[in-house]
């Protein structure tokens, strides 16, 4: 599979694989990107479900919750 998907969470990003689902990508990058369990997934600015299959060139963002402390 090609490495042609940008996977983003907060300030960090990694390269993911086109053809993977959002759920698979979440599992693969949960630790390295510290993806919160309840983080919603957006592709191209639109919310997607866990079964959504990523295409080459997609930018998948797991939305990190806003910092709550200060």
């Amino acid at each position: 599979m090609s490495k042609a998907v940008k996977v983003i969470c907060g300030a960090n990003e990694q390269e993911g694989a086109a053809g993977s689902t959002v759920k698979e990508t979440r599992n693969n990058f949960q630790e390295v990107l510290n993806i919160p369990k309840n983080a919603e997934a957006f592709v191209g600015g639109k919310k997607v479900k866990e079964g959504h299959v990523l295409a080459e060139g997609d930018s998948l963002e797991f939305i990190k919750p806003a910092g709550d402390k200060g």
């Binding site: 907060g10 960090n12 919603e40 939305i63 919750p65 806003a66 910092g67 709550d68 402390k69 200060g70």
Partner: protein, 224 residues
């Protein structure tokens, strides 16, 4: 004249204020800075908050900063922001730095700015232990130019599970989550960067920035 409101003079606010004041004092502009905080500086805050003595955070901050920056007019409001106090503390045309430590107050600020004011620029910051973010809300001539900070990307702000300080009962024991001064500092810096970009460099092409102090990455994004 710039009317600046800094809500919260704790971890982020106490770091943001000296740098903001130094810049504005040197700018020669007419500025009024109002610091709003109902909390007190305590000994336990010394690990990451900048203060000269114990006491109400707004009063202590104004006392210190007014001596150092005579070109700025300071006001201290030693109270928490509530639905009622927002009516007289936040005014049309304000530049607001939200440096609070709970989403319930962020929601209040977001709703007030988007529903009650016709012109406002809001810089809101918050952090976890090693990462954080800022959000920018701009409203001009009664039109939202950016998303309110309580938006669908941040349901944790739209429906907060925490409480405002004024909603916490007297004597109720609150266990605060640990914070890191470096993360507070990083968020304060992002807020100040956005302030400079907006007012002195033609605007920001983003309305949210994330930062991670462990990877030393930051990422700006335009939410629509």
């Amino acid at each position: 004249m710039k009317h600046v409101k800094v809500i919260g003079a704790g971890g982020i606010g106490s770091i943001l204020l000296p740098t903001l004041c130094r810049f504005l004092n040197a700018s020669g502009e007419q500025v009024v800075i109002t610091i709003i905080d109902g909390d007190d500086y305590e000994n336990k805050n010394q690990t990451r908050q900048l203060f000269s003595r114990l006491g109400n955070k707004a009063k202590v901050s104004v006392e210190k900063l007014s001596g150092e920056f005579p070109g700025i007019v300071f006001q201290a409001k030693p109270e928490y922001l509530t639905d009622k106090s927002a009516l007289y503390l936040l005014k049309d045309g304000d530049i607001i730095f939200s440096c609070v430590d709970n989403h319930k107050t962020r929601l209040l600020i977001s709703d007030f700015c988007s529903e009650e004011l016709e012109n406002v620029v809001l810089f809101s910051g918050g952090n976890s232990f090693t990462d954080g973010n800022i959000q920018i809300f701009i409203k001009k001539d009664d039109k939202n130019l950016t998303l309110p900070i309580a938006n669908s990307y941040h349901p944790e702000i739209m429906k907060p599970s925490d409480r405002r300080p004024d909603e916490i009962g007297c004597g109720e024991l609150i266990v605060s989550e640990p914070q890191l001064i470096f993360t507070n500092n990083a968020v304060a810096t992002l807020m100040l960067n956005a302030f400079y970009s907006h007012f002195y460099n033609g605007g920001c092409d983003y309305n949210e920035v994330y930062v991670d102090i462990l990877t030393n990455n930051s990422r700006s994004v335009q939410r629509t």
